[in-house]
Symmetry: C2
Subunit: 345 residues, 2 copies
């Protein structure tokens, strides 16, 4: 059976590959430590578009087209597109879908949307109806800043816990066909709210959800943390990752040294003035679709758990004095070993 | 095989039931022609909550709890919750998920989200990993008005094509267990943009997407419109439904007299001053989860196609002069006939 229930929150998956991926990022992301591992780095944040919102859409489309090109798939051959972004009504994802003409399922889970989409895609492909599914997520620093915080022209000072929304897009292609990587299990998270109220400390708000999902994943699969070369959270950043490590220790989980964070990996915090680290749906999407896929494909990594994390609030809920609910979804991805291929063929 | 590809956009499904449903609506919706067929009608739009946003959330939770109660399911037994709403960052769906502690997959497709969620749930259950999935959608007139249009205190005049966002929530429970209704096929729609720019005429903008999805569904399944007792679009309203009928005729599709609209069914347009008719994710969700489920269960209807429709724009895209992309997702639901039950048992 291609989908197996492994526990209350985790599903084992067979026969689902990632056939190609692409990551396109903005200039600041290109100057970071992972710069050389992205497929395209833009020279400026507008990239010739009239608005930042149009630039965000173009970033998404660039990653989608590039992933297709690398796999030599036509748009026509894609059964379904899954994805989301951070803008109200996920307009980047919606508007990008006008040109490709493939069925679209829009998702929203803030910065956790990439693993929500990837997990869903793997389950739909394993369920045997869908053969080729595209998964994408995008964010843009300058659209997110003005929607969630302040217009950047104000030059508002940022506290050390504030995250830097990444200008980044990532796309992966999920399929029944052979590919260099396979998705072997998915854990969808529950929504936790530890009563954090500070929209400038989302890492701290999201850490409990990240550890909850990781702990359930390990318990459902019966794996120890060492089954993974690395466990990458989405964008807890510096303070959030520290909090996650403390929470893990309290549960008797030893996640060090494998626990890493896409938001921390994306920038050089000392040099790049990003405070707590990177965030945004495009952060985990691009770090996975570029650097992590490369390292898995080359064998530098054998298996990772990607745990994108999302803070599910809006300016309205913040202004109404509400706390910040958070979620994390985990997807386990590993190399498709040569021996497996030999046995199957 | 429980999921079968029937055509480029449509998937046939076996072994998936709807075991119970619940619809909770506001006072205006309760006074409409379907008032007696909802499970609960609120006496006022706030229902004792401090904000309209909190009232929207409470409406959603009421429909979820009631659906569980009718099926005698505990929250604990639910594998997954799927759904969405119209608010920025789908905060009604997100915040409602804080208390139930079940894994949440948030979706956004504007007023088309109910069939996106229902279709996904049916595919996930048919894919054999999930046993009990909850599907919900909600909207509230007074939260949507101030987010998308104007604060209601302004008393802004509305043009005849403007829709009335419904204060309504609907929940259905999707399962591998026996139930009175079954989902037999799903067609996910592509995003169409006919360059409509008027946010006060969403019915006209959405009509092409509705007809595109209906026409693909019929062609993929090889069914004629008469295979359905009714085809219910989500919320095209008066002008949108007329446009849909014209578009259908142009394609040689005779959808009359079976083509109906949840937004038109919800209110008495002559008496209730709702202009073009009802809209909002809760409109199709509540009309289906209340009246349509009742009529299918009682045998008054044998099979319907529910085609929720969504206008995928935001105030930002509107203010930036963008057009309105639209989508429609279709789910075919029919009575589980006694004879089938006899054969299976």
């Amino acid at each position: 059976m291609p989908v197996t229930r492994l526990g209350a929150h985790t599903y084992g998956i067979e026969g689902v590959s990632l056939t190609s991926s692409a990551a396109v990022v903005g200039p600041k992301e290109g100057e970071g430590p992972l710069g050389s591992e992205f497929d395209q780095v833009w020279n400026d944040d507008r990239h010739g578009e009239g608005t930042f919102e149009k630039a965000e859409r173009a970033l998404l489309v660039a990653s989608q087209n590039l992933a297709l090109q690398k796999a030599a798939w036509s748009w026509r051959s894609v059964d379904l597109v899954l994805g989301g972004d951070l803008l109200d009504q996920i307009v980047s994802t919606d508007f990008a879908a006008r040109t490709h003409g493939r069925p679209l399922l829009g998702l929203f889970a803030a910065c956790a949307v990439f693993t929500e989409a990837l997990g869903l895609a793997a389950l739909l492909v394993a369920g045997q109806g869908f053969r080729r599914v595209m998964v994408s997520a995008v964010s843009h620093h300058f659209t997110a800043e003005r929607q969630f915080r302040f217009p950047i022209e104000l030059g508002t000072q940022r506290p050390p816990t504030a995250a830097w929304t990444a200008t980044a897009a990532g796309t992966v292609l999920v399929t029944v066909e052979d590919g260099p990587l396979v998705v072997d299990s998915v854990t969808f998270g529950r929504v936790l709210d530890w009563a954090g109220k500070d929209p400038n400390d989302m890492g701290g708000a999201m850490a409990p959800a990240a550890i909850d999902t990781i702990s359930r994943h390990l318990s459902d699969t019966g794996r120890s943390p060492s089954a993974y070369d690395a466990i990458y959270t989405g964008d807890l950043g510096n303070f959030g990752l520290q909090m996650a490590q403390v929470l893990a220790e309290q549960q008797g989980l030893d996640l060090t040294p494998g626990l890493k964070d896409c938001g921390l990996a994306l920038y050089d915090r000392k040099r790049q003035d990003v405070h707590n680290g990177g965030s945004g749906p495009g952060c985990a999407a691009a770090v996975f679709s570029g650097p992590l896929v490369r390292r898995l494909t080359s064998g530098r990594l054998q298996r990772i758990l990607l745990v994108a994390t999302g803070a599910l609030f809006s300016p309205t809920t913040y202004q109404q004095g509400e706390t910040i609910p958070c979620v994390a979804h985990a997807v386990s991805v590993r190399r498709f070993a040569r021996e497996e291929r030999a046995v199957l063929s």
